[in-house]
Subunit: 349 residues, 2 copies
């Protein structure tokens, strides 16, 4: 299972010049994917200081763990800690107006069931940023049951269809080794509905233990429903733009590892959950516990409905991802998504 996400170490503040230099290195490396030398930092950043000075500062930054050198006589590359500092001291940015329009446009016209909206949102987010996006929908453990109905597929197979207050619908097939009469199914359906109405998966109901066939059908059906774990189940993940993984890394092996993680939905859910709970909105490199994602950074933003956490959106990219843009995009989309679900009532469809 997912390891707890390390709380980002409250990085002691660097003095202004070191901070500027670090920022310059990070920015340029994100841009070029190349090690950054002292001279380009000296000329790019607006500290009027010679490369030599920059160099000696870089030595210090390297000693303190913010930068690393691939080899002597190469420029410097940010470490995870370096990225962390960069992200923590990022001035908030907003996304470009073109993208704002794109998002507004999207949410103005998106239609359909929650699942469809989430799925399309994941595509949107991935297309906006060119990173792989994760959209996690909340489970319905806390939602109350609005309707539970038993439908007969044939004499031995019934289907329990449950509608929840959050609009989720689940189905569970119930097999009976004995044939059940339609009238009994109808009766069981009535009883199940009466029994479950208003309850939630978190607070399970007692089923009266009579012994007739209808009662045992009711018992089987309710048991099948309750077999579902209220926390894990129903949490859906939509992954958008997984092909972007292949853009972000140039080693096929890294791509494979990352994809292998993304294949495991439960893992992805718990990963996003963990980062969210750590209170941070970014997990860089080894901060999340997954070795295979050591060269990845994950950005998350919660989706809330009425202040309740109702899911999250995320972006997965290389550690040298465009944090400012990606953060802004994730935040914008998560806000809009939250508003979308709250505001659904008011909007005329």
């Amino acid at each position: 299972m997912a390891r707890r996400v390390a709380k980002p170490p409250a990085s002691a503040d660097l003095d202004a010049r070191k901070a500027t230099i670090l920022e310059a290195v990070v920015t340029e490396h994100i841009d070029t994917a190349q090690p950054v030398g002292s001279s380009s930092v000296a000329s790019s950043a607006d500290l009027s200081v010679s490369p030599a000075t920059v160099r000696s500062e870089m030595v210090a930054l390297e000693r303190e763990g913010y930068l690393a050198q691939p080899h002597t006589s190469a420029g410097r590359v940010p470490t995870d800690k370096g990225y962390r500092y960069f992200v923590d001291h990022l001035s908030d940015a907003t996304v470009g107006s073109a993208q704002q329009r794109q998002v507004a446009e999207f949410f103005a016209h998106v239609r359909g069931e929650v699942e469809d909206v989430l799925e399309q949102t994941s595509t949107l987010l991935s297309e906006m940023t060119n990173y792989t996006s994760l959209v996690v929908g909340a489970g319905h453990g806390h939602a109350t049951i609005l309707s539970a109905q038993l439908v007969s597929l044939d004499a031995n197979h019934q289907l329990l269809v449950t509608v929840f207050s959050d609009g989720a619908v689940t189905k569970h097939s119930v097999f009976t080794p004995y044939a059940v009469m339609p009238s009994d199914v109808a009766e069981a359906s009535r009883q199940i509905n009466a029994l479950l109405l208003g309850t939630s998966l978190e607070h399970r109901v007692q089923v009266p233990s009579r012994t007739d066939q209808v009662a045992s059908l009711v018992r089987d059906a309710v048991a099948t429903l309750h077999a579902e774990s209220p926390t894990v189940e129903g949490e859906q993940v939509f992954i958008g733009g997984s092909s972007r993984v292949a853009e972000a890394f140039n080693g096929v092996e890294t791509v494979r590892k990352v994809l292998a993680i993304l294949e495991q939905e439960l893992l992805v859910v718990s990963l996003v959950q963990d980062v969210l709970e750590s209170g941070s909105s970014v997990a860089i490199g080894s901060e999340h516990g997954f070795e295979s994602l050591a060269s990845c950074a994950l950005i998350v933003a919660p989706v809330t409905i009425d202040g309740q956490r109702a899911g999250a959106v995320g972006l997965l990219g290389p550690t040298r991802m465009k944090y400012r843009e990606a953060l802004a995009a994730a935040q914008l989309v998560s806000e809009q998504l939250s508003r979308h679900f709250i505001g659904e009532d008011e909007r005329v469809q």
Copy 2:
């Protein structure tokens, strides 16, 4: 949209020796991913003939388009046509007994809704073969409606929950700009159920055009359901082991392209459909119309229930994939899957 899959050109039979040589080249190249030279063919294949003879045959095979030379002084590599001949003349093989056990084991214990079974099957298939697997579930356009029920989420939002004879359940939200009373919802629900019962999405019903509120709710709900395309919708794709794509190719760019295709579910469905309809069970290289999949081969096997096509399983790999094993696995799994759904009634759960 997907281009029609070219019917594999009925490859004129090669004489026995050419066939043997071609087979040896294909087999070895699949194994080593390297161009194959005349001497290794001469020694491996059991034609007692010198490399020089093999060479002259290879020239002929190249002229006829079965083999290609990456450059002078390299060995030969099969072309798509070469693979096609190889596949067409493949002696049927069965999967190893260990894998047979694995499949039997899987189907003996797999439980849950159709979707879950299909999803797990895709994982199974991918793990058996180390290729990316595709499992396509049939749409429910032809299934009849067993129950249609309108559940009220709030005064303005109703949810139409429809149960089909194949066990599928769909939901469609219906928005009303005016508030609807619970009693009206219940009445509409009754009417909708009566109206839709026994119909299918292919054969749509006429809705009486009265003007009262209940009738307009009924009309809206049915219209929303019918807005769903009976052919395309409901066809689900489960992709297993997409990370295997990164194992199969060593160019990151190829990996990206293939993943980009896999992201588009509709494309994948129609791709599988097209190959299936072409009557062949394998599409090699450019045979399916997708340029981005030029270096891929796709194996498909239909899943049938009562002789009706009810979906398909597929395997996507490089053109130099292990056809014999992959074909056997796909066929075994598709048969077992078919049997699973038919046999569900008889098995005690």
